[in-house]
């Protein structure tokens, strides 16, 4: 998930580090070293993550937009100027803007706030901000919690026994808690040295980006895979349940469905399925790896057949998606997906947990192959609900007058075309009558009878004799109050002109 490195560049960051051999070493210097180590870690284990660099003091500044080119960030770290005072609220406002503009409110993000344990002084200091949190004007709320899912880590470049840090730590913890999603406040172990800061950042990188390693299985065919980005546990809240589920590390194909039938169901998240290298277990590789050997390894691995690649190719050709299980009654779809540059990939769409995640596919646990079913049992996609929705039921709604007017007009239109439209005339008439009885709108029935009678007097001389007969017949029956039962149906008057 994308991360923002939020670096404090206030003057206090320039304080020299006590006890270091090199008197030039400042907290800022250590922070930059630490960020470098963090980016190095990512470069090895999570090359696809987007990182952004923002600095803050009494104002914030976006130094590097979200990028996968970590080298760019490292370079930018050398160009950072020193500014005035620490103002954490401003920084958080900046982060909020930056992420909303880039990723919207759906993408989970992480924020690494790097500061020196000095929460600032006076107005706009962290202490002040938190003290006034309940009396904020509505147009300027405190930026936490963020409107997108976010995890905040606070890294303090300060010795653990620093007096300022001891006071500010609870404030940082409060920020982390307000943000939710269990972030951390990190402090170097024992002493503040280059190595303690670097190991702190390496630990953070591992913590933040533990990649998902699993197996994609289809019967006896399988492939070790990495999901990118790593899926996060999903909490499904319904009216009566609240359950958090974690994607199983065995993702198993249970069958195939044409893409057109799948539709576009709601996805909890989407992940690239990348075949993992089998020979080269990256966990055991030292962080500073020779670049050339990596390239060689990849070239060789490209020639080892992988089930992922086969599955991708076949799904693409067949225009199908594979239904996979991600856990107990939790499903996803695996399919071939191409980005704008036509780079094709195997994609996993994670559905909401539950076998009812896609209404038009029916109960996913009950899908089957025709070989296991009798011909009468085999249904088709889309699965239709047992009841029609109101918009396909031709129901009656007379709340707006236009609804009633058009229903009456329709009947009168048919009336003028009697006897050809006899069936339609009585069908519409009975529909209206039934609705009027249900709604207790008896006045409408007598009113309609009156309209029919008036209509008879207005008929042109060319009108078929049936017009007058049927209209009078209908008006008569509408007026009979004993017919106010919805089971009663007005039937056409039997006329026969052939015998007369």
């Amino acid at each position: 998930m994308p991360a923002v490195i939020l670096l404090d560049v206030s003057l206090s960051m320039l304080r020299p580090v006590n006890g270091s051999e090199n008197s030039e070493t400042t907290r800022k210097h250590l922070a930059i070293q630490g960020i470098g180590a963090f980016l190095d870690c990512l470069g090895v284990q999570s090359k696809l993550e987007f990182i952004s660099l923002m600095t803050f003091s009494s104002f914030y500044q976006e130094r590097c937009g979200f990028t996968r080119d970590y080298h760019l960030i490292k370079q930018e770290l050398h160009n950072i100027e020193d500014c005035d005072k620490t103002c954490i609220e401003t920084a958080l406002v900046g982060v909020n803007q930056l992420i909303l503009n880039e990723w919207g409110n759906n993408t989970a993000c992480q924020i690494i706030l790097i500061t020196d344990g000095n929460p600032g002084i006076g107005p706009m200091s962290l202490k002040e901000s938190l003290a006034n949190i309940s009396h904020r004007p509505a147009n300027n709320p405190f930026p936490l919690p963020f409107v997108f899912p976010a995890k905040l880590h606070v890294v303090c470049i300060a010795p653990p026994n620093d007096t300022l840090l001891v006071k500010s730590k609870p404030l940082y913890q409060r920020l982390v808690d307000m943000c939710g999603y269990d972030g951390m406040v990190l402090i170097p172990e024992n002493t503040l040295t280059e190595s303690s800061v670097i190991s702190l950042f390496q630990k953070l990188a591992e913590e933040m980006y533990t990649s998902f390693k699993g197996i994609l299985k289809c019967g006896n065919l399988e492939s070790k895979i990495i999901l990118s980005p790593a899926p996060v546990p999903f909490t499904k809240v319904t009216d009566f349940d609240c359950q958090t589920q974690v994607v199983s590390d065995i993702i198993e194909v249970c069958g195939f469905i044409p893409i057109a039938d799948v539709g576009s169901p709601m996805a909890v998240s989407r992940h690239l399925i990348l075949p993992a290298s089998m020979t080269n277990n990256k966990e055991n590789v030292p962080l500073k790896m020779d670049v050339d050997t990596t390239v060689d390894d990849e070239a060789d691995e490209g020639k080892i057949p992988s089930f992922c690649v086969l599955l991708h190719g076949a799904l693409k050709v067949e225009n199908m998606a594979a239904l996979v299980t991600l856990g107990e009654s939790w499903f996803g779809f695996v399919y071939s997906w191409a980005d704008s540059k036509k780079k094709s990939n195997l994609m996993l769409t994670v559905l909401t947990p539950g076998s009812d995640a896609v209404p038009w596919l029916g109960d996913l646990n009950c899908l089957n192959t025709p070989d296991n079913l009798t011909p009468e049992q085999i249904g088709n996609f889309p699965v239709r609900p047992s009841e029609k929705r109101s918009y396909s039921q031709n129901g009656v709604v007379w709340i707006r007058q236009a609804g009633l007017q058009s229903d009456i007009q329709k009947i009168l239109r048919h009336a003028r075309k009697l006897p050809e439209k006899t069936q339609q005339f009585y069908k519409e008439l009975n529909r209206l009558r039934k609705a009027a009885i249900s709604l207790g709108f008896m006045e409408l029935l007598t009113g309609l009878a009156y309209i029919f009678e008036q209509e008879c007097t207005q008929l042109p001389g060319t009108a078929h004799p049936d017009c007058a007969l049927q209209l009078t017949h209908a008006a008569e029956l509408l007026r009979k109050t004993q017919n106010n039962d919805i089971k009663y149906v007005i039937i056409p008057m039997q006329t026969d002109y052939t015998t007369s």
């Binding site: 006896n220 994609m347 899908l367 207790g440």
Partner: protein
């Protein structure tokens, strides 16, 4: 990283709603808002205008309450229950919490039985009869303490000792009535409060009833348009920890508008106005005018575009004219091609319903969607340009609004699959896997067979596992799957769960044919793959083929019949020790290839004799399982040396061809022998059997 969720979302009041409709004589009066009939005004001079028609207060309240339900049940087919109670001298309960009674037809039919409110009683008759809405409210409270199916399930789980399960019974009552003044309204609320507490006492000592943890009482006070009401509105007031009330005083024709505003709040809904829908005019079919259609759906569909609070989102929100809520206006975008041909990146999906279900523009949009087409909705951007933010589409007769991802994607610019592991392999068996995909297509059960929910997914996994017992990924790593003309239909039969006797014969036929092919020294004709087949020696080809076939069959011994096919192979083809290590037999066969092929010819001819006739008995191998097992255990040795002997063995050993003279070349060192002296004759022997007609 687990996301915190506000638990107040759980156990919402909207799970249980009771409408209490005042059915006292007062509701029989007209709402004094006559319906206009424009079309009648154009009639000729002889037309005597009709007396104005007005709905009664009862009709206004019934149609508004029913409209409320229409929206709820369209958007939430399950889990949002509504009950109706009409109140006059008694409470008339129209439906229960049972899902079978939660539909418009049931309610409409019930309403027709109840009919119009009774006429005012003449004072002298039946003085004991008391017309009041209180009967209905009392019945409503009792209804609220009854369990719904979902609550019953939870209750059972709690009773069974599952301490993970909790149950909170929150609910809502919407009462449409008419009160004289604020005092009588206040009394109504207090009585409700008392009855609620009484009911909870009853529930506490009862197995049948559930305590009401919280109730939301919404009172709509209504009256004809020509009357001033003495009841004033009041916003939500917490009468007690378990009851909050609110009062809305509205003229009867506006009950529906009021409920529209309330329903958005009750069910967390939002309104979208689809603007710029091109519609052909009936009168003027060549031109089209643009129309707007308003729809309701869950509020969550808007979160993505509104939460940023950017100037863009401000520009699309407007307060609906004459109503109290906001609508978001999005532009219709005529779809290009089919949006269903790919999986859209859809972050949420909700059912929709049109606000004005029978208006012509609504019908037009609905029918367009129900006919299988989809519509993109666009949001204009302040910075210029626009962005597709939603997709309207129907699936199985239900219409959904899909929220599309409008922000940048973290999956941007991914490495192509060809850049990773296995990406440079070019001969994957794509076509064959495509076949496997087609064989394992999933279908739903017909609804009528869907009653007993059998989990068939584990069965599907087992089936896929069976289909892939032996499945080489690439063309170059297999030989048999490239020999379709020789080997079909064996692979597709052998992976079945059960195979018939007939299919066993078919498989054996394939094996026999391969044997006879080998015997005739035919090369295995590979399709033009350009792979390893070139330059490969025929013998080696056969060796690989037999070994691979053995692997395939050995891995697919699912039933006795499967085993019969495997045994047939073991009996008919002489395998050397496992893993292709060269043993004495094999070495000899290289030294003495012709001798070996001679014996193969003999065997082949025997086989032909037993299989050519359609009347021939089933092959012996299938009816002699004990022997088969013996053969398996003796596999490294010669198959024919194994005792006990079967008829088949005896038959083979008696074969007269054994008495044939040895190969001429062996009999005398100096003699030059003619190779394949029988070749021509053999070809004339007769039909070669299926699968051999290769070029």
């Amino acid at each position: 990283m687990s996301f915190p969720f506000a638990n107040n979302k759980m156990f919402p009041a909207n799970h249980k709603t009771v409408f209490v409709l005042d059915h006292t004589p007062y509701f029989g009066i007209s709402c004094e808002s006559p319906i206009e009939f424009e079309f009648l005004k154009t009639r000729g001079p002889g037309f005597i205008p009709l007396n104005p028609i007005s709905k009664s207060l009862w009709t206004c309240s019934v149609e508004s309450a029913i409209e409320y339900c229409r929206i709820v049940w369209d958007l939430f087919p399950q889990g949002k229950l509504v009950r109706f109670i009409a109140s006059d001298t008694v409470a008339h309960i129209l439906n229960t919490w049972s899902p079978t009674q939660q539909n418009l037809n049931h309610i409409m039919n019930g309403m027709s039985l109840i009919g119009v409110p009774p006429p005012p009683p003449s004072r002298s008759v039946q003085p004991g009869l008391d017309f009041t809405v209180l009967h209905g409210l009392r019945a409503a409270i009792e209804a609220l303490s009854e369990c719904t199916d979902l609550q019953h399930e939870k209750r059972k789980a709690i009773a069974a000792g599952d301490d993970q399960v909790t149950l909170v019974n929150r609910c809502r009552v919407v009462c449409i009535t008419s009160a004289r003044d604020n005092d009588s309204m206040k009394r109504l609320e207090e009585i409700f409060q008392n009855v609620l507490q009484q009911q909870n006492k009853v529930a506490a000592s009862s197995d049948r009833f559930l305590t009401i943890d919280h109730c939301h009482l919404v009172i709509i006070n209504t009256f004809p348009v020509n009357i001033e009401s003495h009841v004033s509105n009041h916003a939500v007031r917490h009468l007690s920890p378990i009851l909050k009330t609110e009062v809305h005083s509205v003229k009867a024709p506006f009950i529906s508008n009021k409920l529209s505003s309330l329903i958005l709040d009750h069910y967390d809904l939002a309104s979208t106005t689809v603007t710029g829908i091109p519609m052909k005019e009936e009168q003027n079919a060549s031109s089209s005018a643009n129309y707007d259609v308003e729809i309701y759906h869950s509020k969550d569909a808007h979160t993505a575009i509104l939460r940023g609070n950017s100037p863009d989102s401000l520009a699309i929100r407007t307060v609906k004219e004459g109503l109290e809520y906001e609508t978001v206006t999005l532009k219709w975008c005529t779809p290009r091609g089919s949006a269903t041909s790919e999986l859209q990146n859809c972050t949420s999906m909700h059912r929709i319903t049109p606000v004005d279900v029978n208006s012509r523009p609504s019908l037009c949009l609905i029918n367009f969607l129900l006919n299988g087409r989809s519509v993109m909705l666009e949001m204009p951007r302040k910075a210029g340009g626009k962005i597709s933010s939603h997709l309207l589409a129907s699936h199985g007769g239900e219409i959904f609004i899909h929220t599309l991802c409008t922000a940048r994607s973290v999956l941007e610019d991914p490495p192509s699959i060809s850049e990773g592991v296995g990406g440079r392999v070019t001969d994957y068996r794509i076509t064959d896997f495509g076949l496997l995909i087609q064989q394992n297509r999933l279908f739903p059960l017909r609804p009528s067979y869907n009653t007993e929910k059998v989990n068939s997914i584990s069965k599907m996994k087992a089936r896929l596992s069976r289909h892939t017992k032996y499945w080489p990924l690439t063309i170059s790593s297999t030989l048999i799957f490239n020999l379709k003309n020789c080997i079909d239909p064996l692979p597709s039969i052998i992976t079945k769960e059960r195979i018939t006797e007939e299919e066993v014969v078919q498989c054996k036929q394939v094996i026999y044919n391969l044997i006879s092919l080998e015997a005739k020294h035919e090369s295995l004709h590979l399709p033009n793959t350009g792979q390893r087949s070139k330059g490969q020696k025929r013998e080696e080809q056969y060796k690989i083929m037999w070994n691979e076939l053995e692997t395939l069959l050995k891995n697919n011994c699912h039933t006795e019949n499967h085993r019969a096919v495997y045994n047939c192979l073991i009996e008919c083809h002489k395998f050397n020790s496992e893993d292709g290590t060269i043993d004495v037999d094999q070495a000899l066969s290289f030294v003495d290839p012709l001798g070996k092929s001679d014996s193969d010819v003999q065997r082949a001819s025997v086989i032909r004799a037993t299989t050519d006739s359609p009347m021939s008995p089933p092959p012996l191998a299938s009816i002699a399982p004990p022997l088969s097992r013996n053969i398996l255990s003796n596999r490294s040795g010669s198959i024919y040396s194994s005792t006990p002997r079967t008829l088949y063995d005896i038959f083979t050993s008696q074969d007269k061809s054994k008495q044939r003279p040895d190969f001429a070349g062996r009999s005398d060192e100096n003699k030059i022998a003619k190779l394949y002296p029988n070749l021509k004759i053999e070809n004339e022997w007769g039909p070669r059997g299926e699968g051999m007609e290769v070029e």
